[in-house]
């Protein structure tokens, strides 16, 4: 097994990987940009290497700098996390050339899956069911019009190099096609440096269900059950669960076998995910393969009892899979909520800034994979994912109740988050009945929020609280000192005082005095 590995990522996933390392007695190396010196993953790692300025191209996407950091610290392997360089075959190859193990599939597997167009061509040969469309990038508006005519509207435009909904457009009719193609291509160019876009028939109201697979270097491949990821906004997943209540054991076996066929066609090893669109008649179509650990991997860990990150490290170190397909037993139900720094009451605007107060849930069946802490300033340079709240229970209703309970406990102050959105989702009758598809969340957001019956009873208490607070110093100032007889039980100055403030706080002033200010 490795003695030391480098984690080429940030935020909650870097923390997640550091935790796996510590459990296995492996030393971890964190990397960070200028704005991430105070980030949680840097605080938790054994070794830390500075990469450069905030823009990802000069830090987390910069292959030479990351390889230098690995060489300087003597890291034997690199875990790429998700996003950033995780699906870069170029990076995987550069690691191999530098004699460093890339914790993931081979660059050749990534190349065959990395381009969605190439993946479709390979899958067609392997007899995998997929949605009708083009196998090559669109060269002109005329070609797009002709293909759309043959598959029928509505159609989807998608970036070949894409993911996360970038460069993706739904087109309802021929009139809208030219404009949508242009904007999808320019968005793809900006996001991925590659403007190639292809076209697919739109399956209406599909579910998005994906199958976790895992392979070793010896050629064994298993599937670890599906995840339901239909709750999405702008093609960005918001809530995931395992298992999917729509999938029965027979369908799970068929999907799993197709997923293994997909993985075998790419000589795949390590963790991977095969995404499917599922229609109302339980037909499923291959969508794409993600050649990395997924954000939502915890729900699979909960229902299978397998630590996927640790398994990634073992397989990358050359060990065979310790478990056979027939030994995989699903138990209970798990659900994950993605906590984003964005304002659901204001069109989901990003909301970076200082977390002035953080009260976190715990208790039975609750797991939090988080990259934030109280006093930390959420930078505006990266993805707004702050943390994942994961619940496990014996069945789906228990998981929903646990999450609703945990949401009452959860408070993130100072910035806006989408916590309130989850309260609405979890209470929605369609969601509770498991009737979800990729349009569920958009429909929910069109509905007016249901007023809480308790609001009227609480209003006088709110008015009183506001008046009592008005007698206290405003947020962000020094804690109350026995003013008016009310004193803070937990008086403290945040250790991160004045990061970005104009007036130096106690710590910074002390640091300046000592001549160690940064």
């Amino acid at each position: 097994m490795f003695k030391r590995i480098l984690i080429a990522n940030r935020g909650e996933i870097a923390v997640r990987i550091i935790r796996a390392c510590r459990e296995m007695g492996i030393e971890s190396v964190a990397v960070y940009s200028d704005v991430d010196r105070r980030a949680l993953h840097v605080r938790k790692a054994d070794f830390c290497e500075h990469l450069g300025p905030a823009p990802a191209s000069e830090s987390y996407l910069n292959i030479p700098k990351i390889l230098d950091a690995a060489r300087r610290t003597g890291a034997e392997a690199i875990h790429p996390g998700y996003g950033f360089l995780s699906e870069s075959a170029k990076f995987a190859r550069a690691c191999r050339d530098a004699g460093i193990v890339f914790i993931g599939p081979s660059p050749e597997s990534m190349e065959s899956m990395g381009s969605k167009i190439k993946a479709r061509q390979n899958m067609k040969r392997a007899n995998v069911p997929f949605v009708p469309g083009t196998e090559t990038g669109l060269k002109s508006v005329a070609e797009a019009l002709a293909v759309a005519e043959s598959t029928g509207y509505p159609v989807m435009l998608k970036a070949s190099a894409g993911g996360g909904g970038k460069g993706m457009r739904m087109v309802a009719d021929a009139k809208a096609l030219a404009g949508a193609l242009e904007s999808a291509q320019s968005e793809a160019q900006r996001a991925f440096g590659d403007s190639e876009v292809y076209i697919e028939k739109l399956i209406e109201n599909p579910r998005h269900v994906e199958m976790q697979i895992f392979g070793d270097a010896q050629g064994n491949i298993i599937y670890l059950a599906e995840r339901e990821c239909s709750v999405q906004r702008r093609h960005q997943k918001v809530l995931e669960e395992a298992p999917c209540s729509f999938v029965d054991p027979e369908m799970r076996r068929r999907m799993g076998e197709v997923a293994i066929k997909v993985a075998k066609a790419a000589n795949y090893y390590n963790a991977g995910t095969v995404e499917f669109l599922v229609d109302a008649d339980k037909n499923f179509y291959f969508l794409e393969m993600n050649t990395r650990l997924q954000v939502e991997h915890p729900v699979t860990e909960m229902v299978t009892g397998i630590d996927l990150v640790q398994l990634q490290l073992r397989v990358a170190a050359g060990e065979p899979l310790p478990i056979r397909q027939e030994e995989i037993i699903l138990r209970g139900h798990a659900m994950e909520l993605r906590i984003y720094a964005e304002d659901p009451d204001n069109n989901f605007f990003p909301s970076p800034g200082r977390i002035t107060r953080l009260i976190s849930p715990s208790g039975p069946g609750i797991r939090r994979d988080s990259g934030m802490y109280e006093g930390w300033v959420v930078p505006l340079d990266y993805d707004p994912l702050l943390a994942k709240l994961i619940a496990y229970g014996e069945d789906r209703p228990q998981v929903i109740n646990r999450l609703r309970r945990a949401l009452v406990e959860y408070f993130i102050g100072g910035i806006k988050t989408n916590l309130s959105l989850f309260r609405r989702i979890l209470l929605h009758p369609d969601f509770q009945a498991g009737r979800v598809d990729t349009g569920f969340l958009d429909r929910l957001l069109q509905e007016p929020p249901v007023g809480d019956a308790r609001t009227a009873r609480r209003t006088p208490i709110v008015a009183l609280a506001a008046a009592i607070f008005a007698q206290q110093p405003p947020p962000g100032s020094q804690p109350a000192r026995n003013q008016d007889g009310l004193h803070a039980a937990a008086q403290r100055t945040p250790a991160t005082a004045s990061n970005g403030d104009t007036k130096p706080g106690g710590w910074k002033a002390a640091a300046r005095t000592e001549g160690v200010g940064r």
Partner: protein, 166 residues
């Protein structure tokens, strides 16, 4: 002490008097006896009639005070009737030009409206990019754009002036 408290647009008359463990108070004439402790900065534990409430306070970017109880968020504005400043603020907030302010830090990627344009409520003025997302900032007022305070590629902080619509 008397306060006028605006909760989500509804005005309440609040009277606070310090008492043994907390406060004896009235809201719109109705009496309340509260046991109140501050468990952390901006977090109050309020027990009323045996029922427990945890109230948190925070400021929005626009300087609005929010009170959060349980999972609900309320916009709250407290006016001390003796304070001249708050009376003035109460009088003339809505009239006059609308300042369009950046809701978050980011970079201006596009300026949609030009000075002199007539715009409707909800019409896009500029596009700000933050956290890999592009966000159209819309006019909150129908009228004429009298000032565009930013240009493409400029960086803005939360609360910075973007435009003025009169």
């Amino acid at each position: 002490m008397k306060y006028e408290v605006l909760i989500d647009g509804h005005l309440h008359q609040v009277e606070l008097e310090r008492a043994d463990k907390g406060y004896e108070c009235t809201v719109d004439g109705e009496p309340f006896v509260l046991d109140v402790v501050m468990t952390a900065r901006d977090v109050l534990s309020i027990i009323h009639g045996g029922r427990n409430y945890e109230a948190k306070r925070e400021y929005s970017l626009m300087g609005e005070t929010h009170i959060i109880i349980g999972s609900e968020r309320f916009a709250a504005e407290v006016r001390d009737p003796r304070s001249l400043r708050s009376r003035r603020a109460a009088a003339g907030a809505e009239a006059g030009p609308a300042k369009i302010i950046a809701p978050m830090p980011g970079k201006i990627v596009r300026v949609i409206a030009a000075e002199g344009d007539e715009v409707e409520v909800g019409q896009g003025l500029v596009v700000v990019e933050a956290m890999k997302m592009q966000n159209e900032i819309k006019s909150t007022k129908k009228g004429k754009v009298t000032k565009i305070a930013v240009h493409e590629a400029s960086a803005v902080n939360a609360g910075d002036l973007l435009a003025i619509v009169e």
